[in-house]
Symmetry: C2
Subunit: 237 residues, 2 copies
DNA sequence: GCATATTTGTCCGTATGTATA
DNA sequence: CTATACATACGGACAAATATG
């Protein structure tokens, strides 16, 4: 009865039951979170307790704790007596995500102290995105774009707001995995990210806020359009 | 060794293991959340797996799932191999909570569609607070005040923003339980809540936003002052 | 500093309820 | 309707860490 090796899923750090600083459930959650973020587990896919438990060599109780964590992060949905599934966002969820982003990101820009503003993190994210684009790694462009907006929100200096944005942007990744035309989705925002950065550098809060609002409205509109099509294809092929 | 009856904690709905629509762990979490919100479990108190498990007649595994849920809501903190404790907020947490509130609540007002604005929920919360004050139930004033701000944020129409605010205001309750001068803390805001409501009724977004910003700054300042004293008393008596 | 008791961390086996073929 | 597969929840067990004397 050789337990399936966890190699395919990345596996846990070691055999020892407890020596890492974090609990087993959290380490399992970290692994699963990565696999979801990178699309190894597709939205809609069911995550079997037994299969994954064997693959990672953890008990069902431990695995269930990990599932709970990810469910609370809205990456998994839990259906009573049916199990957990990778979340499939509704179009309304996408709209709510953008409603939240617009509210918060614009408020952050509006409430900035300064100028000057500490834009180092933003600069780094922008250039990473540009480099990824030159190399044709569109998934990297997507990741850099997400980092850009996280760095933007980080300017507000609030841990709770940061965490909200982290979660919201992680959800957004689920959408990207379904539509999966990374280039068409993300390339247009490379220049717009740099524009936002330069606008902040110039110290123009109001202009940046307006620019950002339009940016998010455009992004939402386009994404909803594409996503609605993709979801429709999926439910009625 | 009769298992301690769950009467003291409120107990579960019934004996049956599964007939309600929610899982046992969630129902347990609901009970514990209420007890924390009302101050039955004080900040800093340790929640024993065995004691509470017996009192609510659930297994340790189930109880641990409930703990996970509440830990993720930041109402409990989990210390490895030591157990879970009711969260004790640092002064910096209070400041971060207010930073978040100011960012979001003001952004909500700023972004309102209208006028007119649908202020029915706000009206209800305000009058409930006024009634509680007339009856001298200061804990009720606190609850109504929290409802007022939740209703305010609800005007943005975003589920994710609502949930963030729900969590943030639940954390804030932990602070109130430590300082516990409910009247001094909440009474001043009865009139200010009504002023905000009337300002919204008049359709003056900008004026309301300014008023709200000052309101939150005042509230933060006073609460931090009182809370810093209470925490200092607690650590060095 | 040491030995002991308590509590948590993890896993397993099993009985029961629920959904689906 | 029955059968199967799976999640739910329980109780017990032992290891590991912490708290107590």
């Amino acid at each position: 009865m050789g337990t399936t090796s966890g190699a395919e899923l990345g596996g846990l750090a070691d055999d020892r039951p407890l020596l890492g600083r974090t609990s087993t459930a959290e380490r399992v959650a970290d692994i699963l979170r990565s696999r979801i973020a990178e699309g190894y587990f597709q939205p809609g896919e069911r995550l079997s307790e037994e299969t994954i438990g064997k693959a990672l060599a953890v008990s069902r109780n431990t695995l269930r704790e990990a599932f709970r964590l990810l469910t609370h992060e809205r990456l998994l949905v839990h259906e009573l007596n049916r199990g957990v599934f990778v979340r499939v966002l509704a179009v309304e969820d996408v709209e709510d995500i953008y409603r939240t982003r617009r509210l918060i990101e614009c408020a952050v820009v509006r409430g900035l102290d300064g100028p000057p503003f500490p834009v180092d993190g933003l600069e780094k994210a922008v250039s990473r995105g540009e480099r990824a684009a030159r190399e044709g790694i569109w998934k990297g462009v997507s990741t850099a774009n997400i980092h850009f907006h996280r760095e933007l929100v980080a300017l507000a200096g609030s841990a709770r707001t940061d965490e909200l944005m982290r979660g919201v942007l992680a959800e957004l990744r689920l959408v990207f995995h379904v539509v999966d035309d990374p280039r068409g989705l993300h390339e247009p925002y490379l220049v717009r990210n740099r524009q936002l950065l330069e606008s902040l550098r110039s110290g123009d809060r109001e202009g940046t806020e307006r620019m950002l609002a339009k940016y998010l409205d455009d992004s939402r509109e386009r994404l909803v359009e594409v996503y609605a099509g993709a979801v429709a294809d999926d439910t009625a092929p």
